[in-house]
């Protein structure tokens, strides 16, 4: 009618982020919380430069309630384990990603 619309906000409102599944993930994988966003995982990931895959981003998206974005990049993971080798905090990223799939796929089978 007017040729424009009320634009949806891209801001993240932390009041509305559901933490249930991430809490479940942390119960099984407490190391999920230890990421310090150094980016080593993404820098070395063979899928990153083509697909945007990044363990750092997957964890960040999940914590901010952006699960769709997390799954979109995670689907490109080849489970090669290189990120596990380089993580300075010794996070078992490969195991972590598999646990994410297990927990989140219960409801989001894709």
């Amino acid at each position: 009618m007017f040729g424009f619309r009320i634009s949806p906000s891209s801001a993240i409102n932390l009041d509305n982020v559901s933490r249930d599944r991430f809490s479940e993930l942390c119960r099984i994988e407490p190391d999920a919380l230890r990421c310090m966003a150094c980016g080593s995982c993404s820098a070395t990931c063979p899928a990153a430069e083509f697909s945007g895959m990044s363990v750092r981003k997957v964890l960040l998206y999940l914590q901010r309630g952006k699960e769709e974005e997390a799954f979109k990049i995670m689907n490109n993971c080849m489970l090669c384990g290189k990120c596990t080798m380089v993580c300075p905090r010794g996070i078992n990223t490969r195991h972590l990603l598999l646990t994410i799939c297990r927990i989140y796929e219960k409801e989001d089978r894709r």
């Binding site: 009618m1 007017f2 040729g3 424009f4 619309r5 009320i6 634009s7 906000s9």
Partner: protein
């Protein structure tokens, strides 16, 4: 909210405003948007308060909109402004008051720039001389017109016929104040009360009996944001910002909004209609919108001027529920009578927002 904390900040940001003898310049757009406002300003200052306010038909735009939309360089805006100052100098005034917030911001920015870079001021003086053989003095005092109404607020309150109080309940009206971005965000020290908690409108509201609402998005832009509205592809951002403000103020059930900028009352007023059409949502009581006013209109109302002489029929959101709340009398059938009682025709009514 700790009121004393705000008072502390307000006392830190006061500026000297001479009481009398001002050279007044109008806004480019306000006379179309809210035509009664500038007339009322002059009437209050000259006729009610008996002050010396001078204006000339020779002044032009300050170039602010063009400058902010990147269509002219700052030097051009500066030369335009230099010419305005020359008109003030020729008329024998030293105090310069602008009706428009963006003009006020523009003048402030230019004066600060000249202060930091005197060689630029010299160049502008040359350019002005070449262009129109004029010379100017820098104003001794620069103010926005709302600074003056703020200064005169208690005098106006003494002469007031009405207060911003609900006639039925005796409760103060809940008033949202909205400050134009260019008033003090660029130069906080130039605004009364600073930039985070400006006092210029809050002071008027308190003086005239209302209570001020501080809601989470108070400091947010009204939505006009030149590039957002004027670039048609961005118009959705304009209304989204306005929408955000209304969503944020809604729980406080405001009775009215007062603004001090040319664009803000326009967009806060008109976008309420557009939001009601898009979303089916209205923010006032009983299906009405929240009436939005300029500070001159509110000053005129409390002083007892006829609402239709103030131009309130040009508002999109119906003002009648508020007039009834305060107890201001008006003749409904005169709403759409223009000069010499000429019929100016009735507008079509919105689908979702109640209007008269």
């Amino acid at each position: 909210m700790i009121y004393q904390g705000k008072q502390k900040i307000w006392s830190d940001y006061q500026k000297e405003i001479p009481d009398d003898h001002w050279f007044y310049v109008r806004s480019c757009i306000r006379q179309n948007f809210f035509p009664g406002s500038e007339k009322m300003f002059m009437e209050i200052c000259r006729d009610v308060l008996k002050k010396d306010f001078y204006e000339t038909e020779h002044h032009t735009t300050c170039g602010g909109i063009a400058y902010h939309c990147d269509t002219i360089p700052q030097e051009t805006a500066m030369t335009i402004v230099a010419r305005q100052f020359a008109l003030m100098t020729e008329a024998g005034y030293e105090n310069y008051v602008a009706s428009c917030i963006t003009s006020f911001g523009n003048y402030t920015e230019i004066l600060e720039t000249w202060h930091e870079f005197p060689e630029l001021e010299t160049r502008i003086r040359e350019m002005l001389w070449k262009a129109c053989r004029k010379e100017f003095k820098i104003p001794k005092y620069l103010a926005h017109a709302s600074d003056l109404i703020y200064k005169y607020r208690n005098e106006i309150a003494e002469k007031a016929k009405f207060r911003l109080v609900n006639k039925e309940t005796g409760e103060p009206l809940r008033v949202v104040e909205h400050i134009g971005c260019h008033y003090s965000k660029m130069f906080p020290s130039k605004g009364i009360g600073g930039a985070e908690y400006p006092y210029v409108l809050a002071g008027m509201i308190e003086s005239w009996g209302g209570s001020v609402i501080d809601y989470p998005e108070r400091r947010h832009c009204c939505g006009y944001g030149f590039r957002q509205y004027h670039v048609k592809a961005n118009r959705g951002y304009s209304i989204s910002n306005t929408h955000k403000k209304f969503e944020s103020m809604e729980p406080y059930k405001p009775d009215m909004i007062i603004t001090n900028c040319p664009g803000c009352p326009y967009f806060l007023d008109r976008w309420q209609y557009v939001i009601s059409e898009m979303e089916g949502k209205t923010y006032g009581q009983n299906g009405y919108g929240i009436p939005v006013f300029t500070y001159e209109e509110v000053a005129g109302l409390v002083l007892g001027y006829d609402p239709w002489d103030l131009g309130l029929q040009l508002h999109q959101v119906a003002v009648e529920p508020l007039l009834d709340k305060i107890g201001i009398e008006y003749i409904p059938e005169d709403k759409y009578k223009g000069l010499n009682r000429k019929d100016i025709l009735r507008p079509g009514l919105p689908a979702n927002m109640k209007c008269f």
